[in-house]
């Protein structure tokens, strides 16, 4: 069952990587990339469960953290043209 799951999840990963290339705008590309990384995290979890080793789970944890930081930084750059802004004097944000 783990093997069937790994195979099907690999197909889904390929489809989401193709949808990264087919996205029309940058935000859609970011969404597709986020999904592809989620697929990769699930794949690492299945590999760890199948082989009874935990180091793949460590890689999945690092990938989840890295995906969050990169998605937030890229979307802040996309919206404000810089990743992290200092609030100006009198800026309500």
């Amino acid at each position: 069952m783990f093997f069937a799951g790994i195979a099907w999840l690999t197909v889904l990963l390929g489809v989401s990587v193709v949808s990264v290339g087919r996205a029309r705008t940058t935000a859609e590309r970011l969404v597709a990339l986020d999904t592809a990384v989620l697929m990769l995290i699930g794949l690492l979890g299945l590999v760890a469960a199948q082989s009874r080793r935990t180091y793949a789970l460590d890689a999945a944890l690092v990938l989840a953290l890295l995906s969050f930081v990169s998605t937030v930084a890229a979307s802040r750059y996309l919206g404000d043209r810089r990743p992290f802004t200092e609030p100006e004097e009198g800026d309500p944000r």
Binding site: M1, F2, G5, W8, L9, L12, V15, S16, S19, T25, T26, A27, E28, L30, V31, A32, D34, T35, L38, M39, I41, G42, G45, L46, A48, A49, R52, T54, L57, D58, A60, L61, A64, L65, S67, F68, T71, V72, S75, R76, L78, G79, D80
Partner: protein, 120 residues
């Protein structure tokens, strides 16, 4: 018994993730694709990871709990950041019946001003 439970979790997780990828392919704009990406895919990943903990050592289960909690905390924030960036860039709303109350994004209808609305 426990292997049976893990198989059920794997099938459910794969079905949910398939729906998420199908939504990424089929939905027309960023705002609707974020629903499929953030909610469906993170739920599917969590189900798959929990399926791996059935009959596993406690060290693996602790890592899985950490990843699931982390995903539950970070995925909504990331999705909100993408939506905010798309809205600032005035990405068009292509889905049928989209309503944008600010009249800011092309493609969406802005609702008629309500009676007694100040400034209308």
């Amino acid at each position: 018994m426990s292997a049976w439970f893990a198989d059920v979790l794997i099938v459910a997780g794969l079905a949910v993730m398939t729906l998420g990828v199908y939504g990424i392919l089929r939905f027309p704009d960023v705002y609707t694709r974020l629903h499929a990406s953030s909610k469906a895919s993170s739920l599917g990943v969590s189900l798959l990871l929990v399926a791996g903990t059935v009959g596993a050592r406690p060290s693996a289960a602790a890592r899985v709990v950490l990843i699931v909690v982390l995903l539950a905390l970070t995925t909504p924030v990331a999705a909100h950041a993408i939506a905010q960036a798309a809205y600032h860039r005035r990405e068009p709303m292509r889905s049928a019946g989209a309503v944008d109350e600010s009249g800011h994004c092309p493609g969406a209808t802005s609702p008629s001003p309500r009676h007694g609305d100040p400034g209308a």
